[in-house]
C-alpha cells in the first residue's frame, strides 16, 4: 500500500511574524486514522489546507497520492474529501439538497446516487431529517452531515478539521465509529482535534504545538515515555484539592490533576512510588497509591516539561468567602419552555459554599438553558434561582453583583487593552477607586499581566486571553463562579493552570457551576448533574456516576462511558414507556 500524503520539511508563515508551521515531516497512510493533535493555534488547520492544495508551503513539499500540491491541486481535489472547521454546509439548504449539491459537484453518477444517499443517510442517522434545513440541525448533526457531504464520492483521503468541536460525547462516539468503519475500507483519514484523549484512539498521531511537530508515530510510543510513572492517589482523607496543591509542589511530581475523588500524578523519571508515599505521609494525610495507565496527555505534559505547579497566587489574593450556612447557588424547580418545547424541566439542586458542580449533557439537552437561568441570562418560565441568597427574579442586580461569569469564547473587548478591560469590569461591578486599584494590582501580579497591560486584548495569545477572562470574572470577589466550557481548545498546561486557580478559589469558599463537554474538566467536579431531554437523569459525584455505570464487561468505566451509558438507559426507558 502506498503512502497517501507525504509531508517533507514543510514550513509556512503568514506575514513576517507568524510562523504557522516549522519543518514538518509526516505521512498519512491508507486504512488508518491519523490524528492531527494539538491545542488551538498549533497549526492544524494550516497543515490541512496545505494538503488540499488551498495553500502552498513556503518551504518543503507535500505530495498527495504521489502528486505535488503545487502543480496538481485540481487532480488531488478530485479524490480528497475535506470537511472544513465550519462544516462547509449551506444552512439555507435542506439536508438532501446539501447532499445533492456535493454529489453534483463531485460528479457522482445519477444511477449510483440513490444507493449512496441511502447508505450515507443511514450511516449518519440523518435519514429522518432529509427535509430539514441544515441551519436547523444540532451541532452534532451538522458534523455528521458535513462528513456525509465530504463522503458522497468515496474519497481516498478524508480530511476532517476539528470534527469533534462542540459535539457531545455521544455524537463524538458515533462520529468516531463512522470514521473507524471508513478506515476499515482502506480510506486514509486525518482527524484534527484539540482533545488529547482522542489521540489515543488514533492509529497514528501527528502532535503539533505552536507550529512545531512534537511527535509523529503511534500514540503508544508517546505514552511509553511516562510508563510506570503515573500513579493514582485514592482514599484521600480531607480536601483533595489542597492535597493536589501540596503534591504539585513536591520536587518529584511532574504533573497532577484531580480525577473524581482521586488524584492522578505523573512522577519524575526515577522517582519511586514509595518515595512519594513517604513524602506524603510526612506532609499530612495517609492515602493509598496505586499505579495507573499512562495517557497521551500525561506524555504531552511531560514532554512540555511538566505542569504549572499547584500554587494559585490568585486565590491567595482573594478574600475568603464567609460561610452563611446556606447554599450559594440554588435551583428550585426551574423550568423553561419555548412555545411547546420544554427546554428544561424541574431543575432542583443546590451548591453549597466551596463546591464545584458540573452540568453535563448532550447538545440541546437543556444544560445551557439551566446554566443561563441560574446566572440570570434567561428568565425561567417557572421556579426560581438563587445566588448568594438573592432571588434572580426579584433582586437580580444584587444576585448578579455576587456572581462571576466566564463565557466559552472569552468574551472580552478585543479593541481595549488588558488594563482597560480590567478597569471596565471593575467599574461595572461597582468597585470604588481604591478597591479597583487594589484588585487590578492583585490581578496583574497574580497573572503576570505587567508587560501586557497596554497590549490590545485581541492580539493576546489564547492562553493569555483565558487568564484575563478569569481575572475579569473574579475581580469583584464573587461568591459564585459560572464557567461555560472554560477550557475548550486550550493547551493542557494552560488548562492545568486554570484549574489550579479554580481549585484555589474553591478552597477559599467560592462555589462553581461549570458546563462542559470535556470529561477531563468534569473530573474536577464535586458533583455532577447529567441532563438529557430537559430533565436531570443522574446526579452524584464523578465516582458515583462511574460506579453506577459499571458493568461486568466494563468494571472501570470512564466518565464518558458512564455518561453514554446513562443517556442510552434513559432512551431505553423512554422507549419502554
Amino acid at each position: 500500500m502506498t503512502t497517501l500524503v507525504q509531508i517533507a520539511d514543510v514550513s509556512k508563515s503568514f506575514g513576517a511574524d507568524v510562523h504557522a508551521l516549522c519543518d514538518i515531516t509526516a505521512a498519512v497512510e491508507p486504512g488508518t486514522i491519523t490524528g492531527l493533535v494539538g491545542p488551538d493555534g498549533a497549526g492544524k488547520t494550516t497543515l490541512m489546507r496545505l494538503m488540499t492544495g488551498l495553500m502552498m508551503p513556503d518551504n518543503g513539499t507535500i505530495s498527495v497520492f504521489g502528486l505535488d500540491t503545487k502543480h496538481d491541486a485540481e487532480r488531488i481535489q478530485a479524490s480528497v474529501g475535506y470537511m472544513p472547521q465550519r462544516f462547509g454546509l449551506y444552512e439555507d439548504l435542506k439536508v438532501r439538497e446539501n447532499l445533492e449539491l456535493y454529489a453534483d459537484l463531485r460528479g457522482l453518477p445519477a444511477g449510483e446516487r440513490a444507493a449512496v444517499f441511502a447508505r450515507l443517510l443511514n450511516f449518519t442517522g440523518l435519514a429522518l431529517f432529509t427535509e430539514r434545513l441544515a441551519g436547523r440541525l444540532s451541532g452534532g448533526m451538522k458534523q455528521k452531515l458535513g462528513l456525509a457531504c465530504a463522503m458522497v464520492q468515496t474519497p481516498k483521503l478524508l480530511l476532517l478539521d476539528e470534527p469533534s468541536v462542540g459535539v457531545d460525547p455521544i455524537s463524538r462516539r458515533e462520529l468516531w465509529r463512522m470514521i473507524e468503519e471508513l478506515a476499515g475500507q482502506d480510506i486514509g483519514v486525518l482527524w484534527s482535534t484539540s482533545y488529547l484523549d482522542e489521540a489515543e484512539k488514533c492509529d497514528r498521531v501527528i502532535l503539533l504545538n505552536e507550529g512545531t511537530m512534537v511527535f509523529c508515530g503511534k500514540p503508544a510510543e508517546m505514552t511509553e515515555r511516562v510508563a510506570g510513572r503515573v500513579v493514582r492517589l485514592t482514599n484521600i482523607q480531607g480536601r483533595r484539592r489542597k492535597l493536589l496543591a501540596t503534591t504539585l509542589g513536591l520536587a518529584g511530581v511532574v504533573d497532577g490533576v484531580i480525577q473524581g475523588s482521586s488524584i492522578r500524578l505523573v512522577l519524575k523519571a526515577g522517582m519511586d512510588t514509595e518515595d512519594i508515599k513517604r513524602v506524603l505521609s510526612e506532609k499530612s494525610d495517609i492515602v493509598d497509591i496505586e499505579p495507573a495507565a499512562p495517557r497521551f496527555e500525561d506524555a504531552f505534559v511531560d514532554h512540555l516539561g511538566g505542569g504549572p505547579g499547584g500554587y494559585s497566587k490568585l486565590a491567595e489574593a482573594m478574600a475568603i468567602v464567609a460561610d452563611r450556612g446556606q447554599p450559594v447557588i440554588e435551583a428550585r424547580g426551574l423550568c423553561k419552555k419555548f412555545g411547546d418545547f420544554v427546554a428544561a424541566q424541574d431543575m432542583t439542586f443546590s451548591i453549597p459554599r466551596g463546591e464545584i458542580f458540573g452540568l453535563l449533557g448532550p447538545n440541546g439537552a437543556g444544560k445551557s438553558t439551566t446554566f443561563k437561568m441560574l446566572c440570570g441570562l434567561l428568565p425561567p418560565t417557572s421556579g426560581e434561582g438563587r445566588v448568594a441568597g438573592f432571588d434572580l427574579g426579584r433582586a437580580r442586580a444584587d444576585a448578579r453583583g455576587r456572581l462571576g461569569y466566564m463565557a466559552q469564547k472569552f468574551s472580552l473587548y478585543g479593541d481595549l487593552s488588558v488594563l482597560q478591560n480590567l478597569e471596565f469590569f471593575a467599574g461595572v461591578y461597582g468597585l470604588g477607586r481604591a478597591e479597583r486599584k487594589r484588585q487590578i494590582d492583585a490581578m496583574t501580579d497574580a497573572f503576570d499581566f505587567k508587560s501586557h497591560l497596554k497590549a490590545s486584548t485581541r492580539e493576546l495569545p489564547l492562553g493569555f486571553k483565558q487568564r484575563l477572562a478569569l481575572a475579569c470574572a473574579v475581580m469583584h470577589g464573587p461568591e459564585a463562579l459560572f464557567l461555560d466550557e472554560p477550557t475548550s481548545g486550550v493547551d493542557p498546561i494552560t488548562r492545568r493552570e486554570f484549574w489550579t486557580h479554580i481549585n484555589g478559589l474553591v478552597e477559599r469558599g467560592v462555589s462553581v457551576l461549570v458546563t462542559t463537554h470535556f470529561m477531563e474538566e468534569a473530573e474536577y467536579c464535586d458533583r455532577i448533574a447529567l441532563i438529557y431531554q430537559g430533565r436531570r437523569i443522574a446526579n452524584g459525584s464523578p465516582d458515583e456516576l462511574k460506579a453506577q455505570a459499571a458493568t461486568p464487561s466494563l468494571p472501570d468505566p470512564t466518565l464518558e462511558d458512564a455518561f453514554i451509558a446513562m443517556v442510552e438507559a434513559s432512551d431505553a426507558d423512554a422507549a419502554a414507556a
Binding site: 489546507r49 488551498l54 495553500m55 481535489q77 475535506y82 449551506y90 439555507d92 449539491l101 434545513l133
Partner: protein
Amino acid sequence: MANLAVRRFAALLRKESLQIVRDPSSILIAVVLPLILLFLFGYGISLDATRVKIGIAIESNSAPANALASAFRISPYFDAVGARDRRELESEMVAGRLKGIVVIPAEFGENFARSPETATIQIIADGSNPNTARFVTNYARGVWGNWQRQMLAETGGREALVRTEARVWFNPELKSRYFLVPGSIAIVMTLIGTLLTALVVAREWERGTMEAMMATPVGVLQLLAGKLIPYYVLALASMSVCTIIATLLFDVPMRGSVFALFVIATAFLFPALGQGLLISAVTKNQFVAAQAALLSGFLPAMLLSGFIFEIDSMPVVIQWISYIVPARYLIPCLQTVFLAGDIWSLFLPNIGQMLLIGSVLFVAAVRNTRKRLD
C-alpha cells in the same frame, strides 16, 4: 467530461437560486428595498415646483396693482396669499412658510398710470433653497411679463422684438418623475448587482462554504459564474418589475424597445456584478462587504451618476471620479430608452464604457478568487 461540467454548473445554479429564495436578506434587498425606492422616487421626490407658497404684498391701492395680484393668484404655479404690507409676510418667510414675496410697491399705481412700461415690482425669494428660489423668480417673472404684455397691448404698446419659443423634447410637461423613476432603476440594479452579490459571496467565505467548494473539483470560473447568473437573472427580474410599475403606475412612457432595455441592463450588470464579486473576494466578511458596497456602489450611483445632480456642474475633480462610476453610463441610456426611444448612437458608446469597466473589475475579481487561501 463536458456532461459532468454541465451538471456541476447546474448544481451550483440550483443551490444559489434556493438560497436566494430562502434568505430573508436577499428578499429584503431584491424586493423590499427596490419597491421602497421606486415609490419614494415615484411619489416622494419631485423637482417640479408646483404651487409654491408665496406672498403678495399689495402696497399700492390701485386697480392695476389688484389686477396684477389676481394674475398671481390664478397662476397655477403659485399658491399666493395677499397682504397690504410686506412686513406682514416677511416673518412668514423667515419661518420658512413662504418661499417668496412679490412686492407691488406703493408707487406702482402712480407709475403705471404715467407709463405702464416703467412700473416696477420686486420679487424676493427665499435663497436658502436656491433651486426653489430660482423657480420662484423665473415663474414670477413669467406671470409679470405676461401681465405686462397684456396691459401694453391694451394701452397700445407693441410686442417684444425677440420672442422665444421653447420646446421641450421627450418630456414636454417637464415632469421630474419621468427622469427620476428610470434613474431609480439604476439604483435598484446597483443594489442587487453590487450590494447583494458582495454580501452573498462574503457570506460563503465567512461560513466556510467557500473553502469546502474550493476543495472540490469545481473550477474558479465555474464557481463565479454559478454565483453570477442567478443574481443577473434576479436583477433583470427586479428591473422588469420596476419597469412595469414605472409605466403602469407612474405613467412613465416607454418609447424605446424592451430589447434595448435588456441590452443596456446586461451591459450595466457586468461591471456591477464584477464590483460585488471583487468586494467580497477582498473583504471576505459580510459586514465590511456591505459597507464597501454601499460606499463604492450605492453612493456613487446616487450622487455621481447624473441621476439627480448634473455632472457638468460639479467641480472638475469630481467629474473625473464620475468617469469610473458605471452608473454614470447607465443613467443616460435608461432615461433615453424610456423617454426618447432607441438611440443606438447614444447607447453604444455608453455600453462600451460599461463593458470596459466591467472587464477590469472582473479580471481583478477573478485574480482575487484564485482557488487558494493564502
